[in-house]
Every structure is written in structure tokens, then in C-alpha cells.
Subunit: 277 residues, 2 copies
């Protein structure tokens, strides 16, 4: 993942605009900018904000002042989305108007596919703090998008919702870049491979020298009976097999085994004893 | 997805605790509670918060007052995680200490698999607003977890980071419930999770006896210099921290350490030698 080109990610994300309709609290606009910038989005459109400009916007945007300069202010939602290809209206789950509904993750995947394949322009529309989008506004969207939340508690506030949506947009972009055959490399989705190691992991072949070594050492100190090893070798394989040692750790452990062997057969003695003698 | 039992989701998520270390701003604690509750998490542990209680916590938690009552306050990070099986330390990407690192999504998947298969207790640890977690605190974690952000801009604040992590925890839970054919197991994703353990996994507290034991043993055989241990203790923590030992393996390894100690101090001798003498 480290080799991913951050500028390329941001370039894709520049096709996704966040639209906030009739926002009351300037603090929410500031928080939205910060959430956008941390994830690499840059374009915010405000539809008839209640209060603008306001110092809270600058305060809460925390260093995203370049995005403030790019804010576009329009009078109607139609103006905000007129050059867009794909418009998502955010909505809580229970709604009166029936509409194609996607959760945030597939909505982000759909959006970024549209951007990366066809250079489409995407809008994600967020409603008023107190009552969201009207049915008329929701009807302007191609899809509705919802964030799965704890239904016993209720909804995210608008800046939290923007945070989650922007995060999913970035994740979808990273995934799609990753899947591109020409970009090659990186990230197969399993857990272990996701890790970032300083040292290369050891191979199966190296581990096949590791197990005889630990078993021989344990036999020498009579912790393992070679004539009746019972489950011990299997347990050691299970234990070290799932750990995926890196090269440094491998040599560290084999060094310890060798020390114990040398101690046991008398070829290594404690320095203190030598000092004392 | 709509038919999912919200109470069941929350029950799984009750095994995941959010731990905030030395938090300065009460507003961040309030926002964290709100983020948690919207996603169905309920357990917040505060390690030596700078200001507590404070009206901002109540104001920003916005109706999550039941979670305020459940907040646990402890003096040290160790106290916060001692009964946990799997501990994640949050960190920005570029750090001095190398450790197994997962992004938020696979970390959440790993966590919820551990909860749903083995009823493990999970902790996600967040650091100070200004400078995160110390290296010593990070070394207590099994894994580090990071949120992929716009590297040109920098980091999320702590409540935004908690929002994203809690969201991923909920999504991972929903996905895992969704995949369950009936109740039967599933999940082929990785080595570790596939295993059905006969033995319970050890807790963080037990591991805190394990590390001093291996270090003492290594010091006794002069593999480790207590006056100048260099990176060795950290490497051992990283290695055995990600392995998640079960009880059998734990006792097996400690038995080996004890045998080496006895061999070294002369309280145990090889039976062959005795036979020969």
C-alpha cells in the first residue's frame, strides 16, 4: 500500500463532490472540510447555507483552508449537481419514498468505478442537521445511500456521516487502483499479508530446518522424548506455523536454540563461572 | 442485511472496548461515546483522563448517557487491557517501532472473527490528542492499526478515528453474520481464524508473566544483556504478541524456559550423565 501514489488517489477523488444543503451550523462545514481533506477529497458545494462565511468554519477545518477557497456556493440543489453523472442522496433507512438504496460501501465502489472507468462526476448530497433532505431533493438522486447504524440509537450527525462516506470513497479508490492489472503488486486482501514488515518472511523451506532444530534441542535437554514425542512436534508446528516468522526472528530463535544446546553439551559456559574460576 | 438482529450485533460488539489514553479534551470523550453508540459499541475505558467528569462529555455524547454510566476509569493502560485477548494500538503510519500493522478494515475483521468464534475480548487503544501513544504503550499491543489517510495532509483527530474504527467494527460484524450459513462456522479467511482451539487463549495479563520469564531465562544464559538489552525484549513481544498463545502452548513454552533455567543453574541434570556416572 505504501507504494500507492497519493496524488493519483486524490486526482480520482477530485471527481467526487460533497454537497451540503441548508446547513445551519458553520462548525459542521468546518468538520466536513477536515473529514474530506484527511481522505483526499477537495470539492465542497454548499446549497444556500444558513450562515456563511463564519470563523467556526476556519477553526474546525484545521488546516484545510485551501479547500475553503474552493468552496462553491449555489442557490439550489439542482445547480449543485447539474454537471454530475451520478448523484447519491443520503438518507436514514426508513424513508417514505421508495428508491434504489445502497449502503455506503457499495455506493463508494460504484462511484469510484464510474470515476475511474468513465471519468464521471459524482455528488453525495447531505441534508439539513435536523431533518435531512426533502422528498423532492431525494428524488433528484440516482440512488439513496445509507450508513448502517445501530437502529436502536439513531443517526450520525452530518459531519460524522461525511467522515464515513469520505473514508469509504478513499478505500474504494485504493482497492480499485490495487486491482488494476498494470499497477501490479500490493495487497492481497488477507490479514497476514496486509502487515508491513521490515524483514522478509521466511519461506516454508526455511521452516523445515527450524522444526528439526527445535526438536533436536528439546530432545537434548530431555524435554522431548524422541522415542515417544507424543503431540509435542505437532504443537510446535501449529504454534510456529501460524506465527509467520520474519528472517530476523527466525535467526533470533535459532540462535537461542543453539545457545541452549551449547550450554547443555558444555561447549558454552557462563562467563561468570569463568570469571569466578 | 435488513433482517439482521440489531441486538445480536450489539451483543457481539460489546466484546470490543475502546480505550482512550490521557485524553485532554472532554469534548473528544463525548464525541467518542456518540460515535460508539451509533455503531453499537458500549464499552469505553479511560486511562487517566486529564479532565473527568466534565459537562462537555454529556453535551457531545448526545443521548449516549447510558454509555457514560458504563465508562471505566483506570490508572494505567495495563489495567485497561489486562483481561483482553487481542489488543490493537492505533498509530500513524510512520513510526519508529516496527510492529505487525493492519489497516482498519482487516483489523476489524480479525477482531470480530475472534469475538464471534472464540468470545475473545478486544481492545482498541487510542492515544493522546497531541502525540498519540508512546512506544512503550504501543509495545503492549498485539497489532498496530492504521487508517489509510491522505498522506499529504495528515491525521484524523481522535474522535474521527474512533468513528471510522467503530464503523468498521460494525461492518465486519454485519458481514460475518451475513455470511453465516446457519450458525456453523464458515470463515476461511486466514490461518489463525480457521483454527478451532481446544484450549482457551491466554490473556494479556498472563502474557505479562510470560515476557519477564523468557527475558530472565535469556539473561541467565547470557543471550540477553540486562544492562544493554537493545531491541531483543521488543522483538520478543512483537513475535509472541502476534501469535496469540493458547493455554497449552503457554505452559509448554514456560516449561521449556524453566528447563533451560534448571539446566543452567545445575538444579537439573541430564539423565544420561547420571546414568554414566
Amino acid at each position: 500500500m505504501d507504494i500507492i501514489d497519493n496524488a493519483a488517489v486524490s486526482q480520482h477523488l477530485s471527481h467526487v463532490r460533497i454537497v451540503m444543503v441548508n446547513t445551519t451550523l458553520p462548525a459542521n462545514i468546518g468538520s466536513a472540510l477536515r473529514a474530506m481533506k484527511t481522505m483526499g477529497l477537495c470539492k465542497l458545494v454548499l446549497v444556500a447555507p444558513k450562515t456563511y462565511p463564519h470563523p467556526d468554519i476556519d477553526a474546525l477545518s484545521a488546516g484545510a483552508s485551501d479547500l475553503i477557497e474552493q468552496i462553491e456556493i449555489v442557490e439550489t440543489l439542482e445547480d449543485a449537481i447539474k454537471d454530475c453523472h451520478l448523484v447519491f442522496g443520503t438518507s436514514a433507512r426508513s424513508r417514505t419514498i421508495p428508491w434504489p438504496l445502497l449502503e455506503a460501501r457499495p455506493a463508494a465502489q460504484k462511484s469510484m468505478q464510474a470515476v475511474m472507468q468513465d471519468q464521471q462526476e459524482i455528488a453525495i448530497v447531505f441534508g439539513r442537521e435536523d431533518r435531512g433532505l426533502t422528498n423532492e431533493e431525494l428524488a433528484l438522486a440516482n440512488y439513496h445511500v445509507t450508513i448502517p447504524v445501530n437502529t436502536d440509537y439513531g443517526v450520525l450527525n452530518v459531519s460524522q456521516a461525511i467522515q464515513v462516506i469520505c473514508y469509504e470513497m478513499r478505500m474504494a479508490t485504493l482497492e480499485l487502483i490495487d486491482k488494476k492489472p498494470d499497477q501490479e503488486a500490493v495487497m492481497h486482501v488477507t490479514n497476514q499479508e496486509d502487515m508491513h514488515w521490515d524483514e522478509p518472511l521466511v519461506t516454508h523451506e526455511q521452516m523445515e530446518q527450524f522444526y528439526p532444530h527445535i526438536e533436536k534441542m528439546l530432545a537434548e535437554i530431555e524435554f522431548l522424548d524422541p522415542k515417544n514425542p507424543r503431540l509435542l512436534p505437532l504443537r510446535l508446528r501449529r504454534l510456529f506455523g501460524r506465527i509467520q516468522l520474519d528472517r530476523m526472528e527466525y535467526h533470533l530463535l535459532r540462535g537461542i536454540f543453539s545457545r541452549v544446546q551449547a550450554l547443555n553439551n558444555g561447549t558454552w559456559k557462563k562467563s561468570k563461572n569463568e570469571d569466578q574460576n
